[in-house]
Symmetry: C2
Subunit: 292 residues, 2 copies
């Protein structure tokens, strides 16, 4: 999700940091994905120490300008502290626990909803999943399907812990569900609605939207092609999903001719005077051969 963008952006130095447990080797799947993305340097480090090494540089770890990617609360705090302390270092966004919100109307399939809620809930005990529906029947069907599907789920313990932070809400209307969703600002939003066209433009704060009965969140995780480094914990109100824009930066360039400067002088000199900045005005006057 990040390596592809780094490769397209033409970033000169791309480093992958990945932690391993004890004496374990890095998973071959990770190394293969890294090689597909042209990543030449893979570091077997993780957590806050990895962030510090990349931010400051060490004998073996190159100092980098941008540190992207999710992590736990310690990693997030390390990223924020390093970005404060090292000039010229930026991070992508603060990362909180993962979230999924489903908005479903009366014709939605409770089994599909339950499967989506569990696919987010199995990520970790601090994940949060929310259902907003105007149909008591759909909520009841989802509850029943959750209990059924949990029976055979290998990560049922984790999913059950996450479900304790979670809730299925009956709303008065789909319009009310949209209002709640915009206040919450979910990382992932699934719309299981007969008609999404009217609802879609009303969504304001969200990381990624999954529209229709056959668009599970796991399609986005693995195969739909959208980037899955997404704002969480309400940060969709101010941050975008990761994109090439995060790898680029822009600057402005201006050229003024002598006659153009004579015109602009009528704005520059009075405004510099209003701010008591004489040298600002002088930089114009000297060029125009005027008395200082």
């Amino acid at each position: 999700m990040q390596g592809v963008l780094a490769q397209i952006s033409g970033a000169q130095t791309v480093v992958l940091a990945t932690p391993v447990k004890g004496d374990a080797a890095i998973a071959p799947a990770i190394l293969y994905a890294a090689s597909l993305c042209g990543i030449k340097l893979v570091l077997q480090i993780g957590g806050a120490p990895a962030i510090a090494a990349l931010a400051y540089g060490t004998e073996t770890v190159p100092q980098v300008n941008k540190i992207f990617g999710p992590g736990n609360a310690y990693v997030t705090m390390a990223k924020q502290l390093c970005a404060q302390q090292v000039p010229g270092l930026a991070i992508d966004m603060p990362a909180g626990p993962s979230e999924l919100l489903v908005i479903a109307d009366a014709r939605a399939n409770g089994e599909f909803i339950a499967a989506d809620l569990l696919s987010q809930a199995e990520h970790g005990p601090d994940s949060q999943v929310i259902l907003l529906s105007d149909s008591a029947e759909v909520i009841a069907a989802t509850e029943k399907a959750l209990a059924e599907q949990l029976k055979t789920l290998p990560r049922a313990q984790i999913a059950k812990a996450a479900l304790e932070n979670s809730a299925l809400f009956k709303v008065q209307s789909i319009a009310q569900a949209v209002e709640v969703s915009n206040l919450y600002g979910p990382e992932h939003l699934i719309l299981q609605l007969g008609e999404s066209a009217e609802v879609l433009p009303k969504i304001k704060n969200v990381g990624s939207i999954f529209v229709g009965d056959y668009t599970p969140e796991s399609a986005g995780d693995y195969a739909s092609g959208t980037n899955h480094v997404l704002p969480t914990y309400g940060y969709s109100k101010v941050y975008s999903s990761l994109s090439l824009l995060d790898f680029y930066r822009t600057y402005t360039v201006q050229t003024v001719t002598k006659s153009g400067l004579a015109d602009l002088a009528k704005a520059i000199i009075p405004m510099a005077a209003a701010e008591g900045l004489d040298a600002h005005a002088n930089a114009v006057r000297i060029r125009l051969g005027e008395k200082q």
Copy 2:
């Protein structure tokens, strides 16, 4: 510089916070500029308390999602701390002291260079101005002009203090000057060169570039039309000059059909299995009517 962008972006609540000394009133020029930008709420507050009020909201100050604009070290730290503590709050970029770097060849005018250096130096005693030239004569002419122009400058004391953090460097070539500039990453870069066309594409890290003899930095401050909320202190390596992009955010939307999901399943299910995330695979299998 920020109000215009806020107005174009369609931001719903735009607040201007501006400090005043003692019992003084807000400068009429500021109120007039605010009214031109359609800003309806002007708060007579400043410093770290203003940042906290906007980040958390008070009885009289609305809570906002984005806090933009330069400030001193206390304001910058307050912005960074609040962005860490308040989910859904973002800031523009960390702000350091203001900087100007001039690259000048043998045909450059020392009086113009000196005027530009002083226009940045008069901002504050912590400003930094740098000249890089391959001509000892131009450096000598600049030094002479600096001494001359300082004689009549009202803010000479401030400018002299800034000049103590500053330096005029003789470089071996303009190519070397570009290399140094890219390492420094200046907020403002002035190119006083006979030929800028070859140099311009080699500039990598910068806030805003001023090309040619008649493009003083004060043109950018007041009239050239570029935005002057710029990265400082090396942050041009990772941040862009302020633009409409800072007021917008993007999210992704995906819709998958049932037959499309059957195709994507060939990628999703093995990848979910490799990560041990069965509920992710189930969200696909249940939709396709497959055995879990």
